[in-house]
């Protein structure tokens, strides 16, 4: 600070330096975890700002829907839900998770939109020994003893639909997706299973075409390559605004008549409204659709529609299920549900009935063994919706 700065500046700096200690002083109030019959703190981390906030808000609302329809209790304990913002990824997720785990001392953590954020938070989970019931992104992890997911592994949608595409497409299939870990996993799941089933990729070098993510907003140049490849169908995975751009541009491109198959996120939730008619007839694979016919789903969809516009998404459903998992695990963990006991109880849950149908945790991956559905975007009353047109494989473990 010894350079030629004016004096006023220094006094100002001093005042500001006092300011940095203010947040530190304002938040030193750690509380112990729940005691017998007392309330229990659950941390929910999801993207409430930034690129993925649409998904993050579904995750938050799905969890809160379960709470509000169960008297705000999980396993008999009143729940204090502490929500924090994951932002755009790891850089903002880590401090927010640190707050939940080390300051709020939550008994369990849920949510997290991005796989990269999960990987970043993972060392903290091991350090604080808190179980994590994730409801969306899931990276590859060495040790999953405290990590559970109610969603899926990223390569499973592609794996589940590969045989169907092989059986129904006469010719080669072009694989294209976003260039990041989620895209690599989603596309690898499809291409591995598809080639194993005897299918042939139309991509020039036999490898999936990856587009810069999230920088790509214009897919037209890639469509020219697809046209030139002579593909009979396209398989893809995009989510969020990239999904809107891809679908709208696809429908107006020279390959608009080539059938489009996708992991269900391409047409899931709010993006379908933005895509409008351009999304009509797209086939997608997902573990959920709001028109599934079972008692849990009818209750879930009715409760959701009473509080929100539109139908629930797989994101909301997975978060609702995360609350259900915690509900049963906390109940099974006894009067004093410590994080360790909750974690042990999750491993003993067995079958879980859910709006998606019944599923259970795989003992090796801690992700669901579940049935996948083939859906098509069709007119449903005045709006377009993802209508289930068939069952696909049961995948997981």
């Amino acid at each position: 600070m010894s350079l030629s700065n004016p004096r006023r500046r220094r006094a100002c700096l001093a005042a500001l330096s006092a300011l940095i200690l203010l947040p530190a002083a304002g938040c030193a109030d750690g509380e112990p975890a729940a005691g017998p019959g007392k309330s229990i703190k659950i941390g929910l981390l999801a993207s409430l700002s930034g690129t993925y906030q649409a998904v993050g808000k579904e995750i938050r609302d799905g969890f809160q829907l379960y709470l509000s329809s169960h008297d705000g209790r999980l396993g008999g304990h009143e729940v204090q839900l502490v929500v924090a913002d994951e932002g755009n990824g790891a850089a903002t997720a880590v401090p927010a998770a640190t707050k939940l785990l080390k300051q709020d001392r939550v008994a369990a953590l849920t949510g997290i939109v991005g796989g990269g954020s999960v990987a970043a938070v993972y060392p903290l989970l091991n350090e604080t020994k808190v179980p994590f019931v994730g409801s969306n992104g899931r990276p590859e992890l060495k040790d999953v003893s405290r990590v559970w997911h109610t969603s899926y592994l990223s390569d499973e949608p592609g794996e589940a639909i590969a045989q169907h595409v092989r059986d129904n497409v006469k010719g080669s299939v072009y694989a294209i997706g976003p260039d990041y870990q989620g895209g690599w996993d989603e596309l690898r799941g499809f291409t591995d299973a598809f080639v194993k089933a005897g299918g042939k990729l139309a991509n020039p070098d036999g490898k999936t075409t990856f587009t810069p993510f999230p920088a790509t907003t214009n897919f037209t140049p890639y469509f020219a390559g697809i046209k030139a490849s002579g593909a009979e169908a396209v398989y893809t995975f995009y989510a969020g605004s990239a999904a809107v751009d891809f679908v709208k541009q696809y429908a107006q491109s020279e390959i608009k008549d080539i059938p489009l198959y996708a992991a269900g996120f391409l047409t899931e939730g709010g993006v379908l409204d933005a895509q409008g008619d351009a999304a009509r007839d797209i086939y997608s694979v997902l573990n959920y659709s709001p028109d599934l016919d079972n008692a849990e789903n009818r209750d879930f969809v009715a409760a959701w529609k009473a509080k929100n516009d539109g139908s629930p998404t797989t994101y909301a459903m997975a978060s609702y299920d995360a609350a259900a998992v915690l509900d049963r695990a906390i109940a099974a963990a006894g009067d004093n549900p410590t994080p360790e006991r909750i974690n042990a109880a999750i491993g003993q849950l067995g079958q879980i009935s859910s709006p998606r149908g019944t599923w259970q945790f795989s003992p090796s991956t801690h992700a669901p063994v579940q049935k996948w559905y083939l859906r098509q975007v069709r007119q449903d009353g005045r709006a377009l919706s993802n209508t289930v047109v068939g069952d696909l494989a049961t995948v997981g473990g």
Binding site: P221, A228, D245, Q252
Partner: protein, 294 residues
Amino acid sequence: MAADLGFDPYLVPAVDGVAYGLLVFVAASGLVLCFGVADILNLAHGTLYAIGGYTAAALLDGGWSSLVLALAVGVAAATTAGALVAVLLTRAARRNHLTQALLTFGLALVGGSLLVSAFGPDQPPVRVPAALDGSVVIAGHRYAAYRLVFIGVAALIAGLLHLAVRRTRAGMLVRAAVDDAEMVAVLGVNPARVRVGVLAAAGALAGVAGVLGAPIIGPGPGTADVVLLLSLVVVVLGGLGSMGGTLLAALAVGQIQTLGVALAPSAAPFLLFAAMAAVLAVRARGLATARRAA
């Protein structure tokens, strides 16, 4: 690439590059005015585009009259927002550009948050007039009708802008201010008024780009950043303050993002920034040589 060889597969990307480049130009033209005339680094420029985009999404219903309405409302809103930025900049205008960057980046964060809380986190649908909502076949290739029409409209806007800068009194002042600001001030033109006028005009251009470009770069939480970054790239490549240079740079960026991607998909993530760094570094070296000679 088995079916067609030669140029044919690249026709659509090349045409698309023109549409994309012209959109980037219209979006960036306001930023050129800010830079060249008012000497302001406006990092809220992308947010002005997003205002136009959200207006289009909210008002367009598939009819022509709604397009006119959306244009009017979108341009008015973005113009007002631009003028507001200028007023808030009053205190920072005489400071260095990094202070302006601090203020306008702050405004961009605030504006982005307000837009998302008003319109929701999802990308809203944009319904263009039904006649344009399809595709046409040119030279054996299918291409989006809206984009084809957009090329014509954007070229018209670029032409009008050229005329406005060359032929009108306001345009003369603009050129005079770029060349010799002191002299313009001596002529009795209030710099504060110039600043408000320029930022309002920049807002209007961003609003036009936002409304007309909504079907191409649609409104959403990330739109402002995308547009700001592309605009900055073309304005700097175009030589900071030159409309013609910016147009050339925008068309080049359009081709890099489309034809370049189609020709070398594996290099796609590196193309834009590698090209920009190379061009700027080479040009800076040339200038440095000139500086030493001077």
